[in-house]
Amino acid sequence: MTRELQPALVCAVGDHFLVFDHTQPVAAVVSQQGQLLSSCSWSQLIPQPSDGTVWPRLILRAREHQAWLTRRADRVTVRFDVSSDGNVHATPDAVPSDDGMAISQSRYARSGRLSSSSGPPWTYHSVLDSLTWSAKLDYEADGSDFRTYELGEGAITGAAQSSGTVAACVRVAHKRPWVFRPTYRFIVASRLMVREVSFSSLDLNSLAWPATSRGHEEELLKYLSYTVSECASLSRSGAYNVEFQVDHVNTIPAIRTKFRMPDSDMLYVRVDQPFDELGLRGGGLRDLSVFFEEDIAAGLLRKAAGRNQDSIKYV
């Protein structure tokens, strides 16, 4: 199965954009016109990560034609040199100074304002409406020249500007039910055009780190104490027929908690995936500090019920 680039972080390097996968050691150079110019992998240059619980996982620094990507858990850093014709070369390096750097970090959603010495300032927005994010880009140059691009459902996780062109990574996901394997879109926009960049020609399978199930069982057992606590919390909230099951124990485990509430015919299901595609802990609901008690107090079940008319509601 093809694994395409899932762009989560981006920076401007010279006249181009350098865009990074959210998990895998792969980056691509994209032109201001939205053309994929080159790519690189550093899977053979640095060790595979062993800790996914440090958040944010990645810090990206960029200056002129160079960028540095640092893994916060162990400070392992890779430098990227991008030539004027769009070729990129990766080299292990030390963590650079922040001086003069454009800095960004892993986020689930962000809004902000960009600037450029040779183009109008773009703003990017991740707007939360109930449990759903939507993304948009806009700029206003002088009061009469303005553009707004609605990008649809999802949250912007990274954005950068080069001259008058903006690039944005959009994580296509809503807040509840939490999306563990979201798709990402990469958008390049200027005053005259907006374009979604396709990375379908870039198959990450040969460039990526493999998944590992090292320590899954022991870590999963520890993790399940959270699941049991959440089941107890559901019972306190009036839920009945509360149960959970664990699927795919030997690959990427999925924990399904099922329950019913007295005032509804619905079967509610919450899916939790504590391990990512590399087999690292860190992105499960426990690590995201998600609590049934808190969600239910805030009307989660009613909001989820409004989404569709199925008898099974994912929350």
């Binding site: 958040w55 810090i59 800095i103 809004s111 520890k222 500090s289 805030a298 009613r302």
Partner: protein, 173 residues
């Protein structure tokens, strides 16, 4: 979510967006003050691209002591602390905190730690749920851990979806 909460949440998003436009161009990254206010944490998370590197995650808002121990509320990030509680871009259910309610929010957290009943969660790193219900039935719930670290705080009351009733949390003992 009640209409009041919805309106205030929309207001918070607009405020945050305006804040970005107003402040980002002149923002100079700087370390946090010794005890930032909750709203300072939220604002900084919105505008500062180097929020982590500048030390805001570990910026101490306040500390309180109670039967379960000493617990600190930090600015935090998507996953914990003030930002997790109140910022629309967090992983949590949003319980908005505004400039005019941040003192009540902080006081609500302190009262919950000082007076709340605590329930251990068999979890690593040893989390505890602390629950305080005041005289008019407003319940505030905090999740903390054995490192003295706070994950979240919210209020609940019978018949209401309002989860940021910081005012009633502190007005009535």
């Amino acid at each position: 979510m009640s209409e009041r909460t919805t309106v205030r949440l929309i207001s918070a998003i607009i405020t945050a967006t305006v804040g970005v436009v107003m402040l980002a161009s002149s923002a100079v990254a700087a370390p946090p003050p010794p005890n930032p206010t909750p709203f300072q944490c939220i604002d900084e998370f919105t505008i500062n691209d180097n929020y982590v590197g500048d030390g805001w995650v570990g910026a101490l808002v306040t500390t309180a002591s109670g039967p379960a121990g000493d617990f600190s509320l930090f600015c935090g990030d998507e996953l914990s602390g003030v930002v997790h509680v109140a910022h629309p871009q967090s992983s949590g259910t949003v319980h908005p905190v505004f400039a005019d309610t941040e003192d009540q929010f902080r006081k609500c957290w302190e009262l919950t730690i000082e007076d709340g009943e605590h329930f251990a969660i068999p979890d690593d790193p040893g989390r505890t749920r602390i629950v305080r219900t005041n005289a008019i039935g407003v319940t505030s719930t905090a999740f903390v851990d054995n490192r003295g670290f706070a994950y979240t705080l919210f209020t609940s009351e019978e018949g209401s979806d309002l989860t940021n009733n910081w005012q009633d949390c502190v007005t009535f003992i």
